[in-house]
Structure formats: C-alpha cells, structure tokens
C-alpha cells in the first residue's frame, strides 16, 4: 500500500508537468491579446509592450519557465534561501509599504480580474466547488445505489424498467434544462430557497441535485449490474439457504461486492463533480471553480487558465489515488 502511495506521488509532478506544458501550448496559441480589454479604450502600444515584459508574456519560453518556477514553489524556495524575501520585507517596512504578498505556490495575477490573484480566486472558489461536488456525489450515491438495488432485485420488471428510464433521463437531459426547471419550481413558484444565493450547503441543494443526476444514473447502472452478478453467486445462495434475511443478504453480502465498481468510479466522478460544473455554476450562480476555466479561455487569462488546470489535474490524481487506497482497504485481495 505504501509503495502504491509513494509511486503515485512520484508520478504526480510528472503528470502535472505534462499537463502544464500541453495546456500552456494550447492556451498560448489562442488568438487575441490578454492585456487588452475586449471593450472600451485601449492602452498605448508601448504600455502594452512593457506590461508584456512585466508579466513575461513577451515570449513563450520566458513565460513557461517563470510560471513553472513560481507555481512549483521553486522561486519561493530560492528567494527564501538567498534572503530575498527577508530583504523585500525589510525594504517594504522601511519605505512604509505593505509587506509583499508571497505564496509558496504562486499562480500569478489574474489578467481579467485585476484586483485578484489566481491564488485568491482558487482560495475563494475551491471550497465552494468541493462542497457542491461532495453534496452532488452524496446524492448520486444515495439515489444511484438504491435505484440499482431495486432494479437488481427484480430485473426486467416494471420497477427495473422505471429506474432504467429515469437513469436514461438523468444522463440525457442537459443540466441547464434541469437547473432552470428546478429554479422555477422551488424558489420562484413554491418560495423554497433563494435564487442567486450561495451562502451554504442548503443553497447548494438544487445545484447539487442537478449536478448529481448523470452521476446517479451511472451509479445506478453500475450497482444494478454488480448486484445482479452478486445475487447469482454461490455465497449468496448459501446465505439464503442458511435462512439469512433478504435485507442482510442484499446489503451485507451482495452490496459489498457490487459496490466495488462504484467505488472505483467515485474517484473520477468526485473530481469531475468538483471541477466540471460550469453550466450548473452559471445557472445557479454558484461561485465555484468550474466557470474560471471557461472564462479564462474566453478572456485569454493565461494565469487563470493554467492555475485552474493545475489544481484540477492535481485533484484528479489525488482522488484516484484515494480511491485506489480505499479499494485495497475494502477488498484486501486486490493488493
């Protein structure tokens, strides 16, 4: 187990470096000048040139290495070792300036939202995304597992057919349709909840339900298939022959094995739910991270694009690792 964790953690920087290189290459190729406002008056070309230099946007190589150095903490480390950070602090104090804000992993400034750094944006939006994703996965697990069990107990029955149809709808209907309908029914018609508010998990219930439906549908299918297989096994038959109650057979014996495919799906599903909720975030006005990638690309905000991608990539690797560890813990035969 320890070997697995170490191996994955060693792989992590390599994976992230490849993703960083690919993302930056693609983002760099997007046409348009990231330093210009799409609307309104424009700074003089000389000013734009100086700003490019200031942000190392004057060449791909400069940007690649400077960003890599800041985002990996290498720059912080070398500045700390050379005493530059201390010197900066002393100089600022002597000149009556605010102490410079330094991050170990510095993702740089946002070019679009001038008053914010990418670190601040991630700090504010990542917890929101994690909460939304967590609630969505909880709902998906609850709904999906129950629907899967119900379908598996009486396969090809009307109940099974019903759960399959609902699962199909869950996968097929776009989030913005489901989201808008939920908004209309609950806050607007029934007066339950608020539109545009995201002050806690309760406000996240409707967006989480919207986000959870495709995951619930997939979990239902996985559980159903796993349960059908498990219920046909010898040990289940033996348990029934010994007079074990049907509830215990289903939950304790069959589900334990049927749940393993669901468990392995949970890693990528959780990462996706926590990062890929752009449409749900927009419809329900949830200030999560999903929207930043899309907005970043639209505005060619290189710092934001790469910052968000690096966080997403790291989350994906870590979640997969967590699931693998959990998998081996639940079923030691795998190890």
């Amino acid at each position: 187990m320890l070997g697995l964790i170490v191996r994955r953690l060693v792989q992590l920087p390599i994976i992230v470096l490849v993703i960083y290189t690919l993302t930056l290459s693609l983002a760099w190729a997007i046409p348009g000048n990231p330093l210009e406002n799409p609307e309104g008056r424009q700074p003089k070309p000389e000013v734009i040139e100086a700003m490019k230099k200031q942000y190392n946007l004057d060449s791909f190589g400069n940007f690649y290495w400077s960003y890599l150095s800041s985002a990996t903490g290498f720059k912080y480390l070398t500045d700390w070792q050379s005493g530059e950070i201390e010197r900066e602090r002393t100089r600022a104090q002597a000149e009556g300036q605010a102490p410079p804000k330094r991050y170990v992993f510095d993702f740089g400034p946002s070019l679009e939202y001038e008053d914010w750094t990418v670190n601040e944006i991630v700090r504010d939006s990542l917890p929101v995304s994690i909460t939304l994703g967590s609630i969505a996965i909880l709902i998906a697990l609850g709904v999906g597992v129950i629907a899967g069990i119900v379908g598996a107990v009486k396969p090809n029955s009307m109940v099974d057919l019903g759960t399959l149809v609902v699962a199909l709808i869950g996968i097929s209907l776009p989030s913005f349709v489901i989201g808008t309908v939920l908004l209309l029914v609950f806050p607007v018609w029934l007066g339950i909840g608020d539109v545009g508010s995201s002050s806690g998990p309760l406000d996240m219930l409707l967006p989480a339900i919207t986000l959870s439906l495709p995951f619930a549908a997939y979990i239902a299918r996985l559980t159903r298939m796993g349960m059908i297989d498990a219920l046909a096994t010898d040990y289940v038959r033996t348990a029934r022959a010994k007079g074990v109650s049907e509830r215990v057979v289903l939950i304790r014996h069959a589900l334990k094995n049927a749940f393993l495919p669901v468990l392995s799906y949970l890693g990528p599903a959780a990462a996706l739910a926590m990062t890929g909720s752009f449409i749900v975030e927009r419809v329900f006005n949830v200030p999560g991270m999903g929207q930043h990638f899309v907005n970043g690309v639209q505005n060619k905000d290189l710092f934001l694009i790469i910052g968000v991608v690096l966080v997403f990539a790291t989350m994906l690797v870590l979640f997969n690792l967590a699931v693998d560890v959990l998998y081996r813990w639940v079923d030691p035969r795998i190890a």
């Binding site: 003089k44 609630i135 545009g196």
Partner: protein, 678 residues
C-alpha cells in the same frame, strides 16, 4: 460495512465543515444585480460600467451630476464651491471641511493631485489617460515619462544597480510632474488646475469616477518600482476590505469573489443624513435568466441590465398593461411626468416592473477605410461612395422591430439625439427604412446602386464578397443576418458572416483585419466630443482608420472656441460630415437599458438618456428608513410630449429635446432631488 460507508462519511464531513465555517449574511436593505462582476476598484484604471457604478457608491469626486435634472447639472460634492477664470482655463476648487475618508482622515487637495498623476502615468495603463491630458502640460509629461521608461528599458544595468536606477527614475518623475503639469494643491483645501484649452465639459468630466481620488497613504503602501521596466506598479490587495479606504457615501465591508459585495454607510460621510439605506449588497449573478428569477423571488430589488431574449416579451406584456389602463396612462403622460413616475401612479401590477430607457450609446457597423485589406487586395470601402451605398441599404427599422424588439430608436447619427444640452444633431443619411412608399424605397436603392457604379463597380458581381465581422453572443449574429440579407437583396452583392470569440474579434478589429464589423459606444461625459473624438486618426479607438483633415480641423477649432453656440455648431458640422458624406460607420440604432424594479417600492432611478444610476440615492419606499419620499425627474413641458408614442421608452415621446434644454423647466431648488436632501 463500515469500509463501504467510509467515502460517504468523508463526504459528509466535508459538507459539515462548510456548514460550520460559512455562515450566511443577513439580507441587505437593498440588493441589486450589477451589469457584471466588478473588474477593478482602482478608480484610475476603471472603464467598465459595473465598476463605475460601484465607484459612485464608494467614492466621491470634486463635483457630481444632479441626475434628476434634464441637463445633468453639476452640483458640489467633495468640493463645496469653485471658481473658473474668465478665459475658461483655470479652475480653483475649495474642498469642504467635512469631506472625510472612511477612516476619519480629511480629504485634502493633494489626494486629487496624487490620483490624477496616477491616471497620467503610462505605468498605470489607465484606459482614460487621454481625458487627463486636457490639463496643461499633462500630455507632454506623459510623453516625457514614456521616453524616460523607454530609455531605461534599453539600459544594460543589472541587479542592485538596476533597482537603484529605477528608483531614481521614479524620484525624477515625481519632481518633473510638479514642474510640468498644472495641477497644484495650494493648501489642504484648495486645488488649482489649469487646462491646455478651455473645455466647457471639464466639470462634467470631474463627475466621472476616474477623476475621483484614491487614498494616497494606502495606495502608496502597495506601489513598488519594477526593476526590469522601471514602471511603478501597484500590487493587488488595497481595493479589498478591510484595507480599502473610500470617501463616498458607503464603504466596502465584504467582497467575495464572484459571490457578492456588501456596502455599509461610511460614518464619516459629510452628507450622511441624505442616505436612505443602511446596507447595500450586490450578489454576483451572471446568468441572465437567474438574474430575472432572483428578482422574481425577491432576492434582489433591482436588475440593472436585463438581457434574456424574452425581455422583449416582458416589455410587450407591459404594453398590454398600458393598453388596459390607456385613459389613465394618457392623462399622466399629458402631464409630462417621468416614465417611472407614470408607472408608479398606475395600478399595482407585476407587468410594469420592466422598464426600457434609451441609453447614451449607439450600435453601428464599422467600415474599414484603409486602401487595402490585410491580404493586399484593394478595399472597396476605402471609397466613401461605396460606404454610402452600403449605409443606405440597411433596413434599420427592421433591426429595431424584428431583432431588438425593445423600442430602440433608429439611429441616423452617432450621438443619441437629444442627449446633450445645446447640441443639434445633423439629419444623417437616409436609408431604405426612411422611405414612406415603395417608390421612394426603390429610389433610394437605385441611388445606392448608382453610387457603386460611380465607384467603378459596373455590376454587383464586380464587388468582392463582403465579410461582416462580429463577436459571439449578444445577438450580434441576428443583426448581421439581417444586414447580410439587406445587402444581398438591395445591392445584389455577396456577403458572408464571420463570427469570432470576443478577444479574437477585438484583435482583428484593432489590426483592421476586417471589411465591415459590428461596434458600439457609450458616451462618457456630456459633450459631443465623447463620441466624435473616436474618429480622429490618432485616437486609439479609431478602428476604422478613418481620416478626414476637414473633420479634424473642425474638432480642433471647436476645442479653442469659447462661444458655446459656435462650438456646438462646429461639432454638429463635424458629425454631419461623417454621417451624411463620409460614413466611416453606419449607425444602426441607439441602445436601450432594460431594468427590472418595482416602481411602487423603489425610488431613486432616473430615466435620463445618460442613465447614470446612483445607488446611494435609492430609497426603499415604506421601509421606515430614510425620507421615504419619491425622487423623480421633473415633468416635461406638455408641448414636448408627442402623441401615439411607444410607451416603452419616454425618450421616444420627446419631440424636440433641444427645446426642453432651452426651457430648463424648473429651478434646481424646487426639484424633488433637492427637497429630498434637506
């Protein structure tokens, strides 16, 4: 079993942690949806409408516009009075003694000098630097600083030497500013400024948020010299609470990224008694539909920019409501009442909560005026006759009625008619939708075709395929399709559409990689030059690369003309040249601002075409806070109100707004805006 439940327990713990740490705030007295997320609260770097709106909540300039007068009269703000020299060049402002920053420190004259210097420095990359170059010596100073920075960039110095040199450079720039630029803090309460040329709209400019002051002791803390470029750069952080210090009616107590902003009364504001709201909040709602639903469910009291496609249907419903109350509506309108006041006096009905008012902005199509296109081929639009032909064959009425459906006024000029006091708009070039009969329409089309023949295109097939460039979203595609159809049908030319992402679109526009493109502009201040300057050859927003020495000569002459009437006549002639003869752009329609608010409960919005809404004047009627008195525009003289108008926008009801400006209906003291403040 516990093992299976482990991931569930983990997820529950995450949610519980959020529950504990994220406590919701109570609803503010007034909540509104701003046009978009605030980009920056650095006053000198602002240019977006939503940023400027928040700036007016937090900060205050020397003067302000009285937005409840028809000419947007200038009234005292941080300055209690001022004197202007006879030649119109020198202004002396006296800052009121009780003008304070939110930390209790007095607002002093040097705060303005510091802030205006920031705006002038190329280092700040301020969008509105050019406005500050009206000050004597400012333009020369900006050029000097740029040359200084360019020279430094070439320098071979490295390490500590470079840092010291950059700091010395900045010290020199500070000294030079005092030597070159004619703006001085005579003492703490007296600010003196001298302009290059008499500028009749200078006071109006000072009411614009980029001229407001920032708090120097705070901003200085975040400034540092970039050793590589020599630039002074301001680090982020000072614009957010609790750091931000402001001098306006409210202070910023919370700013959660993409979530909300919250404002509370500034206890040191000099006119605290005039405020009607204790707290204001602006949740960040970017989805157009969610914004409407937020209003419907009572989360917000005002949506400042209603953009879903169905807003036209909402306005149509309002028209039905007017029809149902026709007699009462006509009677109120005959009294010359403001459009919001009319709504207020009509029976309560949710249909009347939507409001469309004409804005100080115009939507148009650019023609690239360069002789050749980027590929090297000849550009047909380099010839004014071709531009005129294409401009004449756009059915603007159809755009307004079938695409926009908001009651937008059709535009024949770039400056919205009647939006600037004392200015007479030229007639503008006639187009197919001006025709009153089919025969007249055919006559216009024939004239346009003849213009093409005169320009050397014997048949429509000789005209190269025309490409219309526009950006995605915002309904630009529908407009382009109509224009494409018009040109194909009336001129017989081939037209193709090029839709691009906003940044790519903008880049193409800046580099003149287009033939025809969509464009638009909102005026910044109450003078025709806010629109006309963008057609000067050296203006950064002249994306058309239009150049006419006669046009610029008129603008130059107007810039030194002291007689207001003559000056306006020169500017009107300049606009006539572009709108009747040269057509570097074809104006299509004037923008509408669409609001959602309940006129029975919310007061403080004005329906003036400049649509500068000052949230600090708003009042929730009947909430027991503030004066609870209705604040409204003064009535129009009955003679200026026409019959049979589209009730969606009161501006279309005004037959001749110039007449209105001449009348100046009521003295300022008698207006409700003033009564309220007392």
């Amino acid at each position: 079993m516990l093992k299976i439940l482990a991931p569930v327990i983990l997820l529950v713990l995450v949610v519980a942690a959020t529950l504990v740490t994220d406590r919701p705030m109570p609803r503010a007295d007034f909540a509104f949806v701003n046009r978009g997320d605030v980009n920056t609260l650095d006053l000198q770097k602002m240019s977006w409408m939503q940023d400027l709106r928040v700036a007016r909540i937090l900060f205050q300039g020397l003067v302000a516009n009285d937005v409840f007068t028809h000419d947007y009269a200038i009234i005292p703000a941080a300055a209690e009075r001022w004197e202007v020299s006879d030649d119109g060049l020198e202004y002396t402002f006296h800052i009121r003694e009780d003008a304070k920053w939110s930390n209790g420190e007095p607002v002093i004259a040097s705060d303005f000098v510091y802030s205006w210097r920031r705006a002038l420095l190329p280092d700040t990359a301020a969008d509105y630097t050019k406005l500050f170059q009206l000050i004597q010596g400012a333009s020369a100073y900006a050029d000097w600083r740029q040359a200084q920075l360019d020279e430094f960039a070439e320098s071979e110095l490295r390490g500590e030497d470079r840092r010291l040199a950059a700091e010395a450079l900045w010290e020199e720039a500070l000294v030079k500013f005092d030597e070159m630029v004619s703006v001085r803090a005579i003492d703490d309460r007296t600010l003196w400024v001298k302009l290059e040329l008499p500028t009749p709209y200078f006071l109006d400019l000072l009411a614009f948020a980029v001229f407001y002051p920032v708090y120097p002791p705070l901003v200085r803390q975040y400034e540092s010299v970039d050793t590589e470029t020599g630039f002074i750069q301001a680090k982020t952080g000072w614009t957010k609470p609790p750091e931000l210090v402001s001098n306006g009616p409210y202070m910023l107590t919370s700013w959660r990224f993409k979530r909300d902003m919250r404002f509370e009364q500034n206890p040191h504001y000099w006119d605290l008694d005039s405020l009607n709201l204790d707290t204001i909040s602006t949740p960040s709602i970017n989805d157009p539909n969610a914004a409407v639903l937020a209003y419907s469910s009572g989360v917000v009291d005002w949506v400042s920019d209603v953009t879903p496609a169905y807003r036209a249907d909402m306005l149509a419903d309002k028209m039905l409501f007017y029809e149902e109350n026709r007699a009462e509506y006509d009677a109120l309108r005959a009294q010359g009442l403001d459009v919001f006041e009319i709504d207020r006096q009509l029976p309560d009905d949710p249909r009347k909560d939507i409001h469309a008012v004409t804005a100080f902005g115009t939507y148009w199509y650019n023609f690239n005026c360069l002789p050749t296109l980027p590929g090297g081929q000849p550009n047909p639009f380099a010839d004014a006759r071709v531009r005129r032909a294409f401009a004449m064959t756009v059915d603007k009425q159809s755009l307004v009625e079938d695409v926009q459906r908001l009651g937008n006024p059709v535009a024949r000029t770039i400056i919205p008619k009647g939006s600037i006091g004392g200015y007479t708009s030229p007639g503008g070039l006639r187009c197919v939708s001006d025709a009153t009969s089919e025969a007249e329409k055919q006559e216009i089309i024939a004239e346009a075709r003849q213009l093409l023949v005169d320009a050397g295109y014997a048949t429509p097939a000789d005209v190269p395929t025309i490409e219309i460039l526009f950006n995605k979203d915002g309904g630009h595609d529908l407009i382009a399709q109509v224009v494409q159809k018009n040109w194909q049908e009336y001129l017989g030319v081939s037209v193709r559409l090029a839709q691009k992402e906003i940044k790519v679109f903008r880049d193409d526009l800046k580099k003149q990689r287009y033939m025809v493109s969509r464009a638009g502009w909102y005026g910044d201040y109450g003078d025709p030059t806010t629109f006309l300057d963008i057609n000067r050859i050296d203006d950064g927003n002249n994306d058309r690369k239009y150049h006419n020495p006669r046009y610029e000569e008129l603008l130059d002459k107007a810039a030194v003309e002291l007689d207001s009437e003559k000056r306006m006549a020169m500017l009107s002639e300049a606009e006539r040249i572009t709108m009747d003869e040269d057509l570097p752009m074809v104006p299509l329609f004037h923008y509408m601002n669409v609001y959602l608010f309940d006129p029975d409960t919310l007061s403080g919005l004005n329906s003036h075409p400049r649509t500068e809404q000052n949230v600090y004047l708003f009042d929730i009627l009947g909430d027991g806070k503030g004066t609870d008195r209705v604040l409204t525009m003064p009535p129009l003289p009955p003679s200026s109100v026409g019959a049979g108008i589209d009730p969606r926008g009161i501006e279309t009801a005004i037959l001749d707004r110039d007449e209105l400006f001449a009348l100046r209906t009521r003295p300022a003291e008698a207006q409700p805006a003033k009564e309220k403040g007392k």
